[in-house]
Symmetry: C2
Subunit: 144 residues, 2 copies
């Protein structure tokens, strides 16, 4: 995403943050912009690496703080599909995820038949559902 494109979005991004009761600081806008424009379900470190190339004083703690706030306020969803890394998804609409064990890419899966729509199971109150699929992605399967 070009700097120009980012600039043109700033007003919109600020609106998003404000509507979630988050003060739109420069860093938070950068993180939000990155998430909006790189739909790869990045890790905190990926976000940090990308933004700190532009903002050399950026602290990784700020990225973590920002992502924690985003998560608490419902702007992002944490994806715990892999033991070794926490990933962030800017799309908080219910959907499943597929991780390729070969290339490591994480895909959105919008097929609704995968997602149970339940408020109750075995008498327990359900507030969150994660459906994580793993296997070999289309592309990697084609290479074999």
């Amino acid at each position: 995403m070009s700097e120009k494109a980012y600039q043109s979005d700033v007003t919109e991004l600020k609106k998003i943050l404000r509507s979630h009761s988050i003060q739109p600081s420069h860093h938070r806008l950068q993180v939000l912009s990155y998430l909006k424009n790189h739909r790869v379900h990045p890790t905190a470190d990926m976000i940090y690496q990308h933004i700190s190339a532009k903002i050399h004083t950026l602290s990784k703690t700020t990225v973590y703080n920002t992502l924690k706030i985003f998560s608490e306020k419902g702007i992002v969803r944490e994806l715990n599909i892999d033991e070794h890394e926490l990933r962030y998804d800017i799309n908080v609409e219910p959907h499943a995820h597929f991780k390729c064990v070969k290339c490591g890419k994480l895909f959105d899966v919008f097929d609704k038949t995968l997602l149970p729509d339940r408020e109750m199971v075995d008498g327990h109150i359900v507030s969150k559902i994660d459906v994580y699929l793993q296997g070999t992605c289309k592309e990697c399967a084609g290479k074999e």
Copy 2:
């Protein structure tokens, strides 16, 4: 589980390990026995704490090694439902899991309508499906 009960099961436990091409060492039998008799989806540390009370020379690395082998050979399933802890389930039959955000307990959920039975999504080959539910368990909800 009493020591007697454990003793009486040893032959059976050995059979399980051998049938999965795992040498039935004393430590491995202990870990397997613990998993069989404590269906709480324990962490590696919980297993270590319990067994090391009896076997004072036990190394935590051994517990990790053992769980890795069990996992590779398909005796246990790793549960990644919570960012901060990896849990182990001795029941490898397909089923969902529910974690209570209040008490932290992890429940098996055998309701089959929760589990999609798919070999393919969006052209990707599916080899593993995890369905993780979170919310307030029956018991904790009752207390409120």
